[in-house]
Amino acid sequence: MEDPGQAILQAFFTALSTHTTLTVYTMLPPATLLNYIWIGDVTNSEDSAKDRYISNATVAVDICRAYQNQGSKKAVEDEASVIAQHIRTAVGRGLTMTGYTMHVCLLDSTTETVEETLTDKIFHKTLRYKMIIEET
């Protein structure tokens, strides 16, 4: 069995990069960049049939926007809504992958956090998706 981690990142990157106004990263963006989408934290556990490899995977999509002085998290919420809508309906129940078939892709949970620095208020919204993936 191979590890689908990179294929998952690539599938989400391809799906999101044309449907969001923020720059999409699959590696942690530079510290100076405060407005981005980061696709990271992939988990994977094997759940195979006897004649094929199937795994349960999750991936976190972190949407980040920063404001100086006054700021609102509405932009982050709107961005998350666009992404959730795109993944769930526009793309279907599974994203196109290379070397794998994504059978199920559902929003598992969302979390929100706010950081404050001396100059910025930074809003994060993390969408965690769970998937069933079959190696082809």
């Binding site: 049939a49 004649d51 199920v104």
Partner: protein, 133 residues
Amino acid sequence: MAAINGTLIFLRNDTLSLVGQLDGNIGGSTDQLDATTKDSASAAKVFVNGETTWQGQVSALYDATGALVLDDVIDNLKAGTQWTVKFGQVTTGTKYLTGLGYLKSWRWTGPKNAMSNIAIEFQGTAVITTDTN
């Protein structure tokens, strides 16, 4: 010790393996004929060994592609087509059980947010024997 992983155990109809197999089992039994009479010794029940039979069931992922899939199971069940049931390991030199059997039931499930599964039951006819691949 030569115990084996259950993942190595497959159901086949002769040379064809059911596609996408998950869990499976096979079992046998014999009728026990009660031959107890009023004068049986020590008031203990007495039995005579009767006829034997065997049956089993297998679950699998639903997959419409392959040599032995749900479509074939349904066709064989409706037509009463006899299977050469083989249950066991599949590599050269390994053991399996074999006998003639009929398909007894099939079920296809479509759960939400999970893989679609099938489950079939088979009923053996005549004796079951052990053979080697």
